[in-house]
């Protein structure tokens, strides 16, 4: 028996979408080289405060996009928290795993700091650094640390909102000064980008680790350590 929706309409629609995507890719590959933004952006990289073109686009030319990405991450965490309390967590790890985790977590935090700093002139940046911090949290959670090394809920809320807050505040302050939203003055650009990236890294790391717990954190942190 043929159900019209599942057997005809949806496959046809998917084929149409696929054809459209293929066609636009074909046009993009074979199209004549018109005015491209890449050349303009590359020419302006020295003014952006960082020498890595990717970071200069993400944090300067298109900083608005990155701000919204951080907001999406925050909204995702709010959604996860609204689902209820976190899962009970794993039992404490045996000594071998515990020893490995104790060695790896500081290494991950160190490499997150390196990623953050190196993003100014080589591949790296806030999202990668935040992912490393988040994976340190996941590792702690897997080894049986109840709160994945995160602080208590009150401070955790501040931490996950920090990135969006600092980013938006910087933009608004620049607007008040008269440069326009997130238009950095070239002399300050490097430090503003570093400030925003640091706040974003902490936020992303905390958000990802908290998302892995899968719900609102437990009321009392069992250990006093932070990651």
């Amino acid at each position: 028996m043929i159900r019209p929706l599942e057997h005809i309409i949806i496959p046809l629609g998917l084929i149409a979408v696929g054809g459209l995507l293929g066609w636009s890719f074909f046009l993009a590959v074979t199209g004549e080289a018109g005015e491209r933004l890449a050349a303009v952006a590359l020419a302006r990289v020295p003014d952006s405060g960082v020498s890595n073109p990717v970071t200069s686009v993400l944090l300067n030319f298109r900083a608005y996009d990155t701000l919204l990405e951080l907001a999406v991450l925050l909204a995702a965490l709010l959604g996860i928290w609204s689902l209820g309390a976190a899962a009970p967590g794993f039992q404490p790890a045996a000594s071998v795993l515990d020893g490995m985790v104790n060695g790896f977590v500081p290494l991950l935090i160190l490499s997150a700091g390196y990623m953050l700093w190196v993003g100014a002139y080589a591949p790296g940046g806030a999202f990668q650094a935040g992912a490393l911090l988040g994976s340190a949290g996941v590792m702690l959670a897997l080894a049986g640390h109840r709160n994945a090394g995160l602080p208590s809920e009150g401070r955790l809320r501040l931490l996950v909102a920090l990135g969006v807050f600092v980013f938006a505040m910087t933009g608004l302050l620049l607007m008040v000064v008269g440069d326009g939203f997130l238009t950095y003055p070239p002399s300050l650009a490097k430090w503003l980008i570093l400030l925003i990236e640091t706040a974003a890294t902490l936020s992303i790391g905390a958000t990802l680790a908290a998302a892995y717990l899968g719900g609102r954190p437990a009321a009392r942190p069992t250990t006093g350590e932070t990651a």
Binding site: A87, P88, P123, Q128, G134, Y212
Partner: protein, 95 residues
């Protein structure tokens, strides 16, 4: 040298496509997630071959690593809910 690289790219692309199909058609959630992680790691390799190291880093760290961990946790919870066993016994079979 160049022919070898082309062969590598071809193998990479074919494996990627195969993994994508197997991931989407997999019936078991956990299996699908693990295949997805493998897919993400290979995709990171593809980005590296396309000389986009930034994307390769992000794909390996976020796309494969953290999303994989998140989805494994979600799959664990979903399967726990389906068989409606106690949360406690469920928490012990760590992925």
């Amino acid at each position: 040298m160049n022919a070898l690289l082309t062969l590598f790219d071809l193998l990479l692309t074919l494996t990627l496509l195969g993994l994508a199909v197997v991931t989407v058609t997999s019936r078991e959630l956990r299996r699908a997630v693990i295949l997805f992680i493998a897919f993400g790691l290979l995709l990171a390799l593809v980005w590296a071959r396309l000389r986009a190291p930034d994307l390769a880093l992000a794909e390996a760290a976020i796309g494969a690593g953290l999303s994989g961990a998140l989805m494994l946790a979600a799959a664990r919870r979903a399967s726990g809910r389906k068989t409606s066993t106690g949360e406690d016994s469920d928490a012990k079979d760590a992925p």
